[in-house]
């Protein structure tokens, strides 16, 4: 900036401020004074803010402010208000049976909304965000249910889990057959099982031998017709749904090592209304049985 030299700008007839940058001069068009006072007022306002709200960081905490405002308290207040708002519907959910919830459209809507959130928090890690499942973790959208697909069955499985050490939970598992059956027998029975649902079998496989192995060892749980038994959670081997995969390698692996996937017990970990909401939500995926 060159020396301060105020002058009249020849083009506009307005005085300059005296500031000049490489020949460019700043015109002095005075602002209204009230504008200046407003500016000072905002500064005073900011100081007021420092005093009444938490503002300046200190070494271990910060200035607390006269209002005692705390964002965590605000969250707690909001949550309390939310719980109070949901209170009556939650109480209704707690006292109604899942069948009654399904019959009441208003309650059903509420339960499904509640269930969607609870599912994402608790179930999605294993069963997937939409209940699509993955290897070893059942798809909850299809019509194949190891422990039953009626609303009461689903509720019981959620409440007490499967093979989770709960007396009321689902019991029964697939034992390992290594040592019990010879490798050739395992191979034959695997091919036989694949043939039940119309899958291709390996050339040279002895299906008759496999059928005999099945009758002697597997039918006790999976049934003579191989359609499974929901009391024991044994899979239907004649349909197109394979929890652990349908290729021969996977089936042989299952026979050799057994299966015993665990579904945790949710009783006591989730509240009564939330467990019912989850049952209703899972039921509404579309696979539920009447």
């Amino acid at each position: 900036m060159a020396e301060e030299h105020k002058q009249i700008d020849p083009i506009t007839g307005t005085a300059t401020t005296g500031h000049e940058w490489d020949g460019l001069r700043e015109l002095n068009t005075p602002l209204p004074r009230w504008w200046l006072w407003l500016f000072y007022l905002t500064i005073v306002w900011a100081i007021g803010y420092w005093i009444v709200y938490p503002a300046w960081p200190l070494i271990h905490n910060s200035t607390q402010g006269l209002f005692g405002y705390h964002s965590r308290d605000a969250v707690v207040e909001d949550l309390d208000a939310l719980h109070a708002q949901r209170g009556p519907m939650m109480a209704k959910l707690g006292s109604a049976t899942t069948a009654e919830i399904l019959a009441d459209p208003q309650l059903l809507d509420f339960a499904r909304a509640q269930g969607r959130v609870a599912f994402a928090d608790n179930c999605a890690p294993c069963h997937g965000a939409g209940g699509g499942g993955t290897k070893g973790y059942p798809n909850l959208n299809d019509d194949d249910w190891l422990w039953g697909g009626k609303i009461a069955d689903i509720e019981q499985t959620i409440r007490f889990g499967a093979r989770a050490g709960n007396d009321q939970g689902r019991q029964g598992n697939m034992p390992p057959f290594t040592g019990v059956l010879k490798p050739a027998e395992i191979s034959n029975v695997a091919d036989y099982v694949r043939s039940l649902s119309g899958l291709s079998t390996e050339a040279g496989a002895d299906l008759a031998a496999g059928k005999k192995v099945f009758a002697d060892n597997c039918a006790v749980c999976h049934g003579d017709n191989a359609k499974g038994n929901r009391e024991l959670g044994s899979a239907n081997l004649t349909d197109r749904i394979w929890l652990y995969g349908s290729d021969k390698e996977a089936i042989v692996d299952g026979i050799e090592k057994g299966h015993g996937g665990v579904m945790p017990t949710w009783d006591g970990r989730l509240s009564e209304p939330v467990i019912k909401s989850l049952a209703v939500y899972v039921y509404s995926f579309g696979g539920g049985e009447k």
């Binding site: 009249i8 209204p32 019509d143 239907n236």
Partner: protein, 503 residues
């Protein structure tokens, strides 16, 4: 002089009169960075433009204050207020029009119309908006009328303010601020009536049972109206409003502006001196320098300095000058809606011309016609039912135990009619498929009907199962049709059916 300055000088539009002579060099150092406000005491005036302004004031404020009370019968399932912004139910009602939030694009259309309408006004006659229609102008006008009513016209007001303040001075000022606050309060009160049933809300406000937000908004608008119309007035136009700046960039030399015809007015001198000089055969101007044009100006400018930012072009100086000219027996319209081009034309002995129909005004009018036409057409032909579909994100498809594939969708059905309606949803595009609404039992006739309440939407989960022997492609386009079971009206939307694990 630099080249740049020369260029700027050439491109300058010459002001009507040369700028006032620069102050002597000694004073330059005293020009402050912040200027104190000059108080303006606008004088009352009678005339054509004043009458137009009164009429506009009565009409616009009348609409604003009383429109919420106008009733419009829509039947039992909708409010009976002609104009209502119903936030809780997310509806906007305007007489026979009802808008849903997703039709907010009509607001875009309205904003286009408003902007181009503003441009058109500007191309025809400058700041018509500022001078007559702007809320700031209208309310300030009303506040100035109250001020003259309580504190007297310009001369009386100034005299009393300059003298020692008496009890009467305080009483008059008190009355003024009381009336101002009443108008401001009524302004805020009318505002909230657009957002709730007006008669009910008035009753609630009177008995102290209205929601807090209503009182809060009344308070906010009372403060802003009182501050902006009572105290800030022309400061809003000079320092806050962007339109004067935009307007200056948008205008052209053919737009009619409130113009002092200096070709006729100069040299200005008193009537007595003009007589003498005229007797000597010298040229005299019609302006007698009575300053009436300055005294009536609501922004306190001198129109004789030419077109300027502070001029809102309300035309009150035209009225004031015409009154004086009439008294002096000189021709009227020394100040009038005119252009600098016409002044130049008269000076050169040519006929003045008024080009209201120009490419610019035609273009603006065409845009207004097209935008307005499109809005009217879409409003008149829009559907009263709608369907939107969201495919399940996870899982994309489900294989059932018999090998068939199923896709899940969430559909939302919109019923914009004010009565309950039953809909059938059909899915086309798959060779053999089954559509199942989760949680909706089939009716006696076997059809699954979705019932949607009046003026409501309904979300339904739909499962579509493909039973065909041939596995469907990775993605098949399917068409969802929503059919009104009674009238047969149809709304359609496309989506996809995903299949095949080879994806």
């Amino acid at each position: 002089m630099t080249q740049l300055e020369e260029l700027v000088r050439q491109s300058e539009v010459k002001p009507a009169t040369p700028p006032s002579p620069p102050p002597p060099d000694d004073d330059i150092d005293d020009i402050p960075l912040y200027a104190a406000r000059r108080k303006i005491y606008p004088q009352s005036v009678h005339g054509t433009f004043r009458r137009i302004k009164w009429a506009v004031l009565l009409i616009t404020l009348g609409i604003y204050y009383f429109l919420p009370f106008v009733r419009w019968d829509r039947g039992p399932n909708a409010p009976s207020q002609a104009v209502l912004i119903d936030f809780p139910n997310r509806r906007f009602y305007f007489f026979f029009i009802e808008l849903w939030p997703q039709e907010i694009y009509y607001l875009t259309g309205l904003l286009v119309l408003a902007a181009i309408g503003l441009f058109l006004m500007n191309a025809l006659a400058g700041r018509v908006w500022c001078g007559y229609l702007c809320p700031q102008t209208v309310w300030t006008d009303l506040y100035m009328a109250i001020e003259r009513f309580t504190e007297g016209d310009r001369r009386e007001h100034m005299k009393r303010e300059a003298a020692k303040w008496t009890l009467e001075t305080y009483a008059r000022k008190g009355a003024k601020h009381f009336l101002w606050l009443m108008v401001a309060w009524w302004t805020g009160g009318a505002w909230v009536l657009y957002f709730a049933d007006a008669p009910t809300l008035v009753k609630e406000l009177a008995t102290g049972e209205a929601p807090f937000v209503a009182y809060a908004w009344i308070g906010i608008l009372t403060v802003t109206t009182y501050a902006l119309a009572g105290h800030l007035r022309e400061q809003v136009c000079l320092y806050m409003c962007p339109w004067p700046r935009i307007q200056a960039a948008l205008t052209d030399e053919y737009a009619l502006n409130v113009t002092y015809r200096y070709d006729r007015g100069e040299p200005r001198m008193s009537a007595k001196k003009a007589e003498q000089l005229k007797a000597q055969g010298q040229h005299v101007g019609d302006c007698v320098d009575c300053l009436q044009c300055v005294h009536v100006c609501p922004t306190g400018i001198d129109i004789r300095q030419g077109s300027q930012l502070g001029c809102i072009q309300c035309g009150l100086c035209i009225d004031a000058c015409n009154n004086i000219m009439a008294k002096l027996g000189r021709p009227r319209d020394l100040i009038a809606y005119d252009t600098d081009l016409n002044i130049k034309a008269r000076q050169e002995g040519r006929q003045p011309s008024y080009n209201l129909i120009r490419p610019r005004t035609l273009l603006y009018a065409a845009i207004i016609a097209i935008a307005g036409g499109v809005m009217l057409y879409t409003l008149a032909t829009r559907d009263s039912e709608g369907i939107s579909v969201i495919h399940d994100r996870n899982p994309m498809f489900v294989r059932l135990s018999d090998g068939s594939l199923r896709n899940g969708y969430t559909i939302r059905i919109v019923n914009k009619q004010l009565k309950s309606r039953d809909f059938i949803v059909a899915v086309d595009g798959l060779p053999s498929s089954l559509v199942d609404f989760v949680g909706l039992p089939p009716r006696a006739d076997g059809r699954q009907l979705v019932s949607v309440g009046p003026d409501q939407t309904k979300e339904v989960r739909v499962l579509v199962t493909d039973y065909s022997d041939v596995p469907p492609a990775a993605s098949t386009t399917v068409l969802f049709s929503l059919i009104d079971a009674d009238s047969g009206a149809v709304a359609q939307v496309r989506d996809h059916f995903f299949g095949s694990e080879r994806r």
